[in-house]
Subunit: 368 residues, 2 copies
Amino acid sequence: MSGLPNYQCSCGRSYAPSAERWRCDCGGLLDLPAGPLVWNPRAGDHSLWRYRDAIAVPGRELSLGEGMTPLVDASLDGEPGVRLKLEYASPTGSFKDRGAVMLVALARLLGASRLVADSSGNAGTAVAAYAARAGLPAEIFVPAGTSEKKLLQIRGHGAEVTVVDGSRKDTAAAAAGRVEATGAFYASHVYNPYFYEGTKTYALEVFEQLGGTAPATLVLPAGNGTLVLGAYLGFAGLRAAGLVDRLPRIVAVQAERCAPLAAAFAAGREEVAPVAPEPTVAEGIAIAAPARGAHMLRAVRETGGTVVTVSEEEVARSHASLAARGLWVEPTGAVAYAAVRRLRSEGSPYAEGEIVAPLCGSGLKASL
Amino acid sequence: MSGLPNYQCSCGRSYAPSAERWRCDCGGLLDLPAGPLVWNPRAGDHSLWRYRDAIAVPGRELSLGEGMTPLVDASLDGEPGVRLKLEYASPTGSFKDRGAVMLVALARLLGASRLVADSSGNAGTAVAAYAARAGLPAEIFVPAGTSEKKLLQIRGHGAEVTVVDGSRKDTAAAAAGRVEATGAFYASHVYNPYFYEGTKTYALEVFEQLGGTAPATLVLPAGNGTLVLGAYLGFAGLRAAGLVDRLPRIVAVQAERCAPLAAAFAAGREEVAPVAPEPTVAEGIAIAAPARGAHMLRAVRETGGTVVTVSEEEVARSHASLAARGLWVEPTGAVAYAAVRRLRSEGSPYAEGEIVAPLCGSGLKASL
């Protein structure tokens, strides 16, 4: 009815999209059909919607101009071949806008009357902002300890905030419970595959901004994997369409203190086992049990990439190094660049050739 | 030597640009020659540098991707004809990046070894960020009471902060004193005309984003007038080049509590007399004695525009109204939209036809 492709589960089931459907009856994750994409950027459109022929589009009247973030050299002198993508110059200050706009557009198209989301921060803010833009009521579940500043913004956008006295995982469970109980649309950046249609545009922009080529390496922070998987899908679609002849290596980056993906990768496993996280300044990627962990492992391996971890000190030093060159990010936003510095200082083969890394969230988001 | 046009003063003097020259020997303000601009946007460039043929360019290797901010409808339903330009989706979170990048590029071109700037907030942050990007040391003078958060960012970018125990005007005097004493480059958003070459691109983007037309009205906040004058210069250049046949009316907006331009306009004067300001939430435009006040009066009058004031309550209500539609601005950022609401609710002739208003600064900048 919606004109959208069916959701697919790896168990073989498929479903027509509806406002209530957010996972498979088997409990599995839903995806969209993959394949070659249509490369037809709309020259006059300076938002991610310029790539609307290349993604599964759930309607688009909702834009706040998200996407088309700057790609700049890491520094004016030195570090040739390292480019940073300023995802923080987004309407709500993080790359999560790419996915949030898709979810809210989809909710409208499917006739949802209410949204539920869970987030430790940037995704919840982005969903609240786009829900407000769409005139849809939203309820955002956040873990206890979320900063007052973030709560103020979420509430400012008219969303209801429910603080869950528990972990990030407990927060997700509470949100899913509310969805099941009320039939609300679950605007989940983990479960809903349209979020990844949005983050896919990260790859499409990099490709276009590099003059229609793929870099050697994409260094990407990895928590729930929204950017890792989106970037993978984008370049896989470009390759399937014959526009690039190889995938850039994906180097996924985690904080040492919460690194389930790194552990699974190093052990050669195909699934990611939960870890007991320690507190980290990189709170935006501190996901102890990523639901799409197996997807991430496959993406990293298929590209010939790897998973690295960075210490608290490396994140802090990279944050300072970026600030000293005019780039103001929240601590999590310095994670990818910390990995770039490490790989280059070690002379790692993953540091050979052109590297692109995102600066995901604005330093203005950090509390003071 | 620099290949740049001479600075001109209304007294008749002119000067080759140099790192030390920031005002006329008569004390007057320096401008650049006006005239038709060259309209040749570079399609592949998604920053304000796509208009480099249309402005006096002081070098450009410095970009953080500033400019090309989104232009969106004020709301999905209702308010047809009101468009908002999301200047807050800029590298440092405000439109001041447009001018700051020009000043720092100029400083490099002229061989400056040190920058001085004065600002109550966003301009200082922007100059600090771009100076860091360029590797140039900077000293930013701020008035006492500037938020810790702003100071943290300015210092994070490696700039020295000098807190002046006095008014905004005292702060400017202290900065000018330091410039005179040390020969530093004065990166002044008030005095240096290249700042306005940067803010000119606001107009060029509006023109291009509206499909090569001028809106009926530009509603613009007015403190020192950086955006009012830049927008005026941009459309004046387009008109001189025969690309538009009229200038959009400029409606300049001030806070009731600090409205020297409004007073001068209402009295039919040609100069702006200083006022004794009261505290206002619109701190970003609380300029009691704008140095370019006469320029602003001429620009507003030539376009058939006007000057309006908004109350603290109107700013607060507009801030909430924007947030409820997904747009998160600092209080000053709601000023222009507050005026739009007032003009429309009054059925003012200035509200007829298409209106464009900027959202100048990110809500993430506000302290909490």
